[in-house]
Amino acid sequence: MLYRTRTGSITGDGEIKTVGGLDPETGQGIASDHWHQGAVGVEAEVDLGTGKVYLRRLHAIAYAGRVVNPKMARLQMHGSVFFGIGHALYEEMVFEDGILTNPNLSDYALVAMGDVPPSSRWSCSRTRAAHTSTASVKPCSRRSSRPSATP
């Protein structure tokens, strides 16, 4: 994907601090601080007239450690990617004067089947250095119409 866009390589650094837990008094706070290392690259098209973003290709990889249940690991990969697409493009809880203005599934858009990029690849890696991984566990690729470049 990077090769096709002639971007060269992209390196990212990040830090995440485990914070969270609900206040026992109010029940409020960050409910979940669950996270894993992973990276996703997408090829997107933007309609300049409407601003709508179309995802054309996607490659996702996660540092998953030893995969015990490949079927469920695959589903977790898929689910996480769709969640990510949703958060990046569609999902937002909109508050006005403290009132949620999109409290239903017609105003709060979830990712549906047609939002999945037509060519997607997913894999779980056992090693932390995902881009040099040789121990790719059960690469879960779907039929892709075009050959996919490796990131």
């Binding site: 549906a112 089947m113 047609g114």
Partner: protein, 167 residues
């Protein structure tokens, strides 16, 4: 579902058996069907956008949360409880478990019914675009779309080859 002087009785076929459903005519059909113990009919959005309350009405998938009870009069209703064939899971149901096409499975009955209607109406192989088109009205929060597509695709290919064999 309240029973009062505005209640009326609707007679329809539910999973092959003649059934009387009682309730106000404008009651959501999903509530009336759940009253019959058909808990695969699951109401989520109440707006007809998520597909979890889908049943087949004369073979066509409909959202029962926005279908009033009186519309069921004389119709043939099929829920996922009626998909089995002689006590065995249908081909599609078996394929769903083999492809692991669900995680929490809350949306699965809806997907199964729409997919079986899709398979019923298709004559050949189903491509991804046709499956997406047919199942676009269903939401799966776990994001199992890829495996659902895979399951429907395998079933379509199998029934296409069966048809070719019987010719």
């Amino acid at each position: 579902m309240q029973e009062d002087d505005r209640s009326s009785t609707v007679t329809c076929t539910v999973n092959g058996a003649e059934t009387s459903l009682t309730g106000r005519p404008a009651t959501a059909a999903s509530a009336a069907l759940r009253q019959q113990g058909l808990f695969s009919v699951r109401e989520t959005c109440g707006l007809g956008v998520c597909g979890t309350c889908t049943v087949l009405l004369d073979g066509e998938p409909v959202s029962t949360c926005i279908t009033p009870l009186y519309m069921l009069e004389g119709r043939d209703v099929r829920t996922v409880e009626g998909l089995e064939e002689d006590g065995e899971l249908s081909d599609l149901q078996t394929q769903f478990t083999e492809s692991q096409a669900f995680q929490c499975s809350f949306c699965t009955p809806g997907f199964l019914l729409s997919a079986s209607a899709l398979l019923e109406s298709s004559t050949g192989d189903l491509d991804d675009a046709a499956i997406e088109e047919g199942l676009q009205g269903h939401l799966c929060r776990c994001g199992c779309y890829e495996s659902i597509k895979e399951a429907v695709r395998s079933c379509a290919a199998r029934s296409a080859s069966r048809r070719a064999g019987s010719l």
